[in-house]
């Protein structure tokens, strides 16, 4: 308050300015403990939901699985057109030592799609095919080309034996 008196008695100081100075010099009453308590309360408050560590691991794992699944699906789609249908090729031949199916869907590669033998001598393979018309033959023991006895024949026989035909409809219709 000494300063106030000095200002008060300083010549040329406007009375209103002196009043303002006095007002500003009045100490502000603060409750330091209450302030600290409020700050601590904010700091210690949990941020959103507290997730247990194990739960977070499981959630992360599921998310990773979904992402991987989507990734694999996209990779698969880039190779195989989306609307494929799984077709089962089957041939009964108890004497064969190997059977494969070769056709327009695998570039006539006689080794790309082997059939697997069941104990009763039935050879089977499942292949995803796009909708449309596919021609093929079975290759027995890597040398003998035979048509599928259960499928219609292709009318052409450019290379000595008639191919078999399978027509795959779009998924919705079934085949």
């Amino acid at each position: 308050m000494t300063d106030d008196l000095e200002y008060d008695h300083e010549p040329g100081i406007d009375e209103r300015l002196a009043a303002a100075v006095r007002l500003l010099r009045v100490p502000v009453e603060t409750d330091a403990q209450a302030f600290d308590a409020r700050v601590l309360k904010q700091v210690q408050q949990p941020r959103g939901y507290a997730i247990p560590t194990r739960v977070s691991i499981v959630v992360s794992a599921l998310a990773a699985a979904i992402l991987m699944g989507v990734g694999l699906h996209n990779v698969s789609r880039s190779i195989v057109p989306r609307a494929t249908q799984t077709v089962r090729f089957q041939l009964a031949d108890v004497h064969a030592t190997s059977v494969a199916v070769a056709g327009s869907f695998n570039g006539w590669n006689a080794e790309a799609t082997p059939l697997h033998r069941a104990p009763n001598g039935t050879w089977t393979a499942e292949v995803a095919l796009t909708p449309g018309r596919h021609v093929y033959q079975f290759v027995i023991d890597r040398s003998r080309w035979v048509p599928d006895p259960r499928s219609p024949r292709d009318p052409g026989d450019d290379f000595g034996t008639q191919n078999s035909v399978i027509t795959v409809l779009p998924h919705r219709s079934g085949s």
């Binding site: 190779i79 052409g156 450019d158």
Partner: protein, 211 residues
């Protein structure tokens, strides 16, 4: 440790759910590499270039060449077969029009080589102009292969196309083939499946290529 187990479980489940399938893509001339002798590949590439020049698909040519190579056919025979496919692609384009898809053209080649006339093919196209031809042409080819005369088979397809969808068309073809296989004469099998139909589509049949 728990984290690694979870990751491994994820990988295993994703792999188990993934679809294992044969890669199907459109064949091109590079598919000849390593599958046919270089000299034969050159001859096939020339034919493929001819197809490309008139905006015809090359995949049926490559497919035929690979078929011949896998069956160990002589080179000249392979070239003749590929040449025949190219010739019939041109005819199929003419019969089916510029909007025909590659699959429809390939199916058209099959029925032309089976002996169906270009006029009959065009008639099938006109009858089915609002839907895909691939299934109908596939059934048509199979009927001819089963012994139905080409013109009769073409007429049966046009009659049936107005009555059923693609699934029904496949069933129709199977019924006829089954009847023929059981000993029913081809014309009677067709008549039975269609419930009677008018005469065959006129037109000079395409001579079947000799093997």
């Amino acid at each position: 440790m728990t984290r690694w187990v979870a990751v491994l479980i994820c990988i295993a489940s994703s792999l188990a759910g993934s679809h294992i399938a044969i890669a199907q893509r459109v064949l091109d001339v590079t598919d000849l590499d390593g599958r046919v002798a270089p000299a034969l590949a050159v001859r096939i590439r020339i034919l493929a270039d001819s197809a490309t020049a008139v905006r015809l698909p090359t995949a049926p040519l490559i497919d035929k060449a690979l078929e011949g190579a896998s069956k160990r056919a002589p080179d000249d025979r392979i070239v003749a077969a590929v040449h025949s496919v190219l010739d019939n692609l041109r005819v199929a384009r003419h019969s089916l029009g510029d909007t025909a898809t590659d699959a429809e053209l390939a199916a058209g080649v099959t029925v032309l080589r089976a002996g169906v006339s270009p006029d009959a093919l065009a008639e099938v196209h006109r009858t089915l102009h609002r839907r895909s031809l691939t299934v109908s042409l596939s059934v048509l080819g199979s009927l001819v292969a089963a012994g139905v005369p080409p013109s009769t088979a073409a007429k049966a397809i046009t009659v049936q196309a107005n009555r059923t969808d693609d699934a029904g068309m496949l069933a129709f073809g199977r019924d006829i083939e089954r009847s023929i296989a059981s000993g029913v004469p081809a014309y009677r099998a067709v008549e039975g499946a269609t419930g009677g139909m008018p005469g065959p589509i006129p037109g000079k049949p395409t001579p079947r290529p000799k093997p």
